[in-house]
Symmetry: C2
Subunit: 593 residues, 2 copies
């Protein structure tokens, strides 16, 4: 599989974009004319830079508003084309994208379009240039790939073929099965873009809201399968116009983009039983092995975990970390001076085959995390998520795992029997799609419930990524653009929250204080048993209920950039107390760490 | 006119919101239940705070999903209502909004709805509470204000009336003329919101994209006129759910909101020939009087203006400012140590009656700017725009104006005869609607062409505000959220740009350097006269052409936070060279100030 990307997908200058594409491992690029025009480097310099970086120039684009025009416009268009062919020769580019006429077409006649495109192809042939004609979804007379293909057949030139763009085809709801009717060697180029399901004009949808494959609503694996079955052998190229990717770091976005193609090729091959481009099978997570908090001074967390009923299991025999457990809930405190504030630094997932999970993650472009391992210790391999959070995989049962490497504590007292219910990760708004693609492709989690939660500084978008059975849940909370990053937290599930809360209170833990008005509202919303209501109010607990069950929870104070939540799920309750989140965030706003 | 605003419009805690509403001059508020629930303050404390701040609590809202339900649900809904009536009594609120049932209605029968609402009204009456029933645009059975009104008539209770919300009526395209069929004293409340014309589901449109009056596409003056003609005498209240306003500074957003109501009341009165709520008539600007650059050290600008052919007209006799002119283009350099970097600090507009323009601006809530004036000097009155830019108005001809107060320079040499073509203002993305409302209501400019310009750090949204005749043009450029503020600039129009450019070059001014690729592209796009092309290339000028004429322009280097553009408009060209803007921004990115 050869991979390519249009320079318009990325921020920065053309040379910055090319360096980012090379660093991400792309084989080639589509040079956007406008990016070249705005560059100080000559076409010859760009050509030389691409050669040095190992990037082929797979396409030069776009050339607009060419065919279906009157004779005077046609003559001017041929003149325009010749000028661009000059640039292409200086660049060393041999394929140009001609998109169907939007602005100047006046003649709705395939014969005319074919004759004019034929003349263009003949002119291009003298330069060794090939033409890829593409139907734009909003073309004046040609807005369907099948129509473009009929015109190409009519023109019948060896150097005139088509460019297929998943957006232009799928946004219009055109059946991609017809792609298999096209000669594979006449598909000169393939552009891939996903997009969310939006009910808006197709031009704005295309120009602002495209996504990388796997992030939207298009059936891209089916689409790609049709193209490959037609016999296409060129690169898989990304052309994603997206307001966010245009402004995020080019190196990071290019890596994100490259991951989407690896994922797409793997999924397409898997669904069709093809051996090429397959990764190791995804390893479904069967649990959260541990969560790690790092910071220069974690003594407040030691105290808090003890107050909650966690057991101190000791210090690691060779690393500056210590372990607290509460049944299956394991929290590692990593005290390294380089981190100023306590923060949620990583987590581990239980899987059937850890090596395979890591291999798959590395193949998906996740950077390897080095962790020194001494003889007799379990080697835990890990990768870094795009934001630096470390993700570990473990395939040993706890009794024989790294857990045995801690000394100086006691066995789990059983005072608190819990599991990690969810790990809530805060991101900046512009990191959303990257975080979702990482968790879906590398961690094999799926997007489930999503919500908009009002906070005092704007709406927080919350997207839960989880396993279908709910044993692993990673809610992703996104800050509004002007607001600080949402604080991350670890939620621990237990069976008798009221007892846990009472013991923690008795141990001196001060919970996040809940406004009295909240309990008045709770009483209005639910016809609660008065004993339960007064217990909730007395202990300062949150409560929610739906048709499936009940949810009781409370929050620790925030320590640096992290806090803990203790939850109890009664019956089949599967949510997160979304109605309580605004109250919780307002309370945290009023009582900063 | 009494004014009110729903607390959901603003960021911050409930007490922060209330302080902001009072500071902006609102008479009252709608307390959102969720804001109260998340507040530590008791209802009694909120009531006392409102009293101290001089705010009435005009509405408590919302109460949802009440009517059209089965008996068991109805009983629970009455219990819920009683609990909220308790809260209202503690708050001292006497009007509650009940919106039409979305979630639990199962009985599509007006008699049932009327009977249930009647029972609710009777319960409320025992507390001295009135009910305002509102049709939500997405109500299950009741989604039209006329339908809600029929149910209210059926129920026939003195303390049951309706709440009209412009969004719910206009978003559905319902004819607001029918409002005049409602008894004025049965319209218990009026909520106003504007919205952009968007093709999306009405719930998301309502929850995320509402705007303050005057910022969207709704015919709100017509709407308000219908309500007032019906005999409504209550407050004009804003209920604007907007993702941006939820995260911007509450004090600033409240001032912005209050301005929209003053504007709306004035426009409605003006259109209907009503004497109440009228402001001074808008003073159409007939020219840009001057632009002011402030900074600690402006010597680079002195040199640049001289190189461009401006004449030094001297220093002001009493203020630390100096004047440069080029015909009608006047630039004031204000050297005050408190500003670190040169920045575009203000501008003056020519109008027929400056006093009236200032009075109107002050009535629209723009803060007065104090400027010391000595005997014999023209008193130039000014206000501050929301971002702090100072706006002055002048109604004297230049010969007898403040221009005569400068000494020590020469008369205008005539070396450069120009006018200010446009003043380009850079804002942060979240300041867009506020800036548009200020320029439209206070400066009487209208929204015209808008564009999305690709920069190396994201799409820059550009919205031109101007007089119809184009003598005043203020393009507003908005930074992408993650990018720095766009640099502001002053564009000076002249008649022979090539001569101006040549002379400036000869005087040693180095223009912003334009990539050679740009001229190759220009040659491809336009079949340009080769003499003109080589002159553009030699001098480093930008060029554009459309059906109406031509545009030639170049840019100075950036000095601090400001730069100059010199432009020539040939024929009827009315644009700004939008296709050149990405090249200009890329060049500025590569050659920072």
């Amino acid at each position: 599989m050869r991979t390519s990307i249009a320079t318009v997908c990325l921020s920065g200058s053309l040379t910055e974009k090319l360096h980012a594409c090379a660093a991400a491992g792309f084989d080639g690029v589509e040079i956007m004319d406008a990016d070249l025009v705005a560059a100080y480097e000559s076409p010859e310099e760009i050509r030389a830079l691409c050669e040095r970086l190992g990037l082929t120039i797979d396409l030069f684009q776009p050339f607009r508003d060419f065919e279906g025009v009157d004779d005077a416009t046609f003559a001017d268009n041929m003149r325009r084309a010749e000028a661009k062919f000059d640039v292409m020769q200086r660049l060393g580019a041999t394929l140009i994208l001609v998109c169907s006429n939007v602005a100047t077409a006046t003649i709705d006649d395939d014969e005319v379009a074919a004759r004019q495109l034929g003349a263009l192809a003949d002119l291009a042939a003298t330069r060794g240039i090939r033409i890829a004609y593409e139907a734009l979804a909003w073309g004046r007379f040609v807005d369907d790939y099948r129509h473009a293909w009929r015109i190409i057949q009519l023109a019948d030139r060896p150097n005139l073929g088509t460019c297929l763009d998943s957006f232009h085809i799928l946004s219009r709801g055109h059946d991609p099965a017809g792609i298999e009717q096209i000669d594979g060697d006449k598909i000169f180029f393939l552009q891939l873009a996903d997009a969310p399901a939006l009910n808006m004009d197709v031009l704005s949808w295309s120009r602002h809201h495209r996504l990388f494959p796997g992030e939207g609503a298009f059936a891209l694996t089916d689409f790609l399968a049709h193209v490959l079955r037609a016999g296409y052998t060129g690169p898989l190229s990304l052309e994603v116009f997206n307001d966010t990717y245009r402004q995020t770091d080019a190196v990071r976005t290019a890596a994100h983009a490259r991951r989407s193609l690896t994922w797409l090729a793997d999924r397409t091959a898997a669904e069709n039983g093809w051996p090429e481009n397959r990764l190791d099978d995804a390893q479904p997570a069967t649990g959260i092995d541990f969560v790690e908090i790092a910071g220069a001074d974690l003594s407040d967390l030691d105290q808090m975990l003890a107050q909650l009923g966690f057991t101190f299991r000791g210090r690691h025999r060779s690393k500056p970390v210590r372990l607290w457990t509460a049944g299956d809930a394991r929290i590692i405190l990593n005290e390294q001076a380089r981190h100023e504030q306590p923060r949620l630094a990583g987590f581990g997932l239980d899987v059937g085959d850890a090596r395979s999970a890591v291999d798959r993650a590395l193949a998906l472009g996740a950077p390897n995390v080095f962790r020194r391992t001494y003889a007799g210790e379990q080697e835990l391999r890990a990768v870094a998520a795009p934001d630096g959070t470390e993700v570990y995989w473990n395939d040993r049962p706890a009794e024989t795992s790294w857990v045995t490497e801690f000394d100086g504590g006691t066995s789990d007292t059983g005072a608190l029997r819990g599991t990690i219910d969810h790990v809530n990760l805060g991101y900046r708004w512009q990191e959303f799609d990257e975080a979702v693609l990482f968790t879906s492709s590398v961690l094999s989690l799926s997007s489930e419930s999503s919500a908009q939660v009002p906070s005092l500084s704007g709406l927080v978008r919350s997207q839960v990524m989880r396993t279908p059975d709910g044993v692993v849940r990673l809610p992703i909370n996104l800050a509004p653009p002007t607001a600080p990053l949402p604080t991350r937290h670890i939620a621990v599930r237990c069976d008798d929250l009221i007892a846990v809360a009472r013991r923690a209170r008795d141990s001196g833990l001060t919970f996040l204080q809940i406004p009295s008005n909240y309990y008045d509202d709770l009483a209005a919303r639910f016809d609660l048993d008065s004993g339960l209501l007064s217990e909730l109010r007395e202990l300062g607990l949150f409560y929610d209920r739906d048709g499936d069950g009940e949810f009781i929870h409370f929050y620790s104070p925030t320590v640096g950039g992290v806090f803990l939540e203790m939850v109890e799920r009664r019956g089949g309750y599967d949510g997160y107390g979304a109605l309580n989140a605004p109250v919780r965030m307002a309370a945290q706003h009023s009582t900063p760490a």
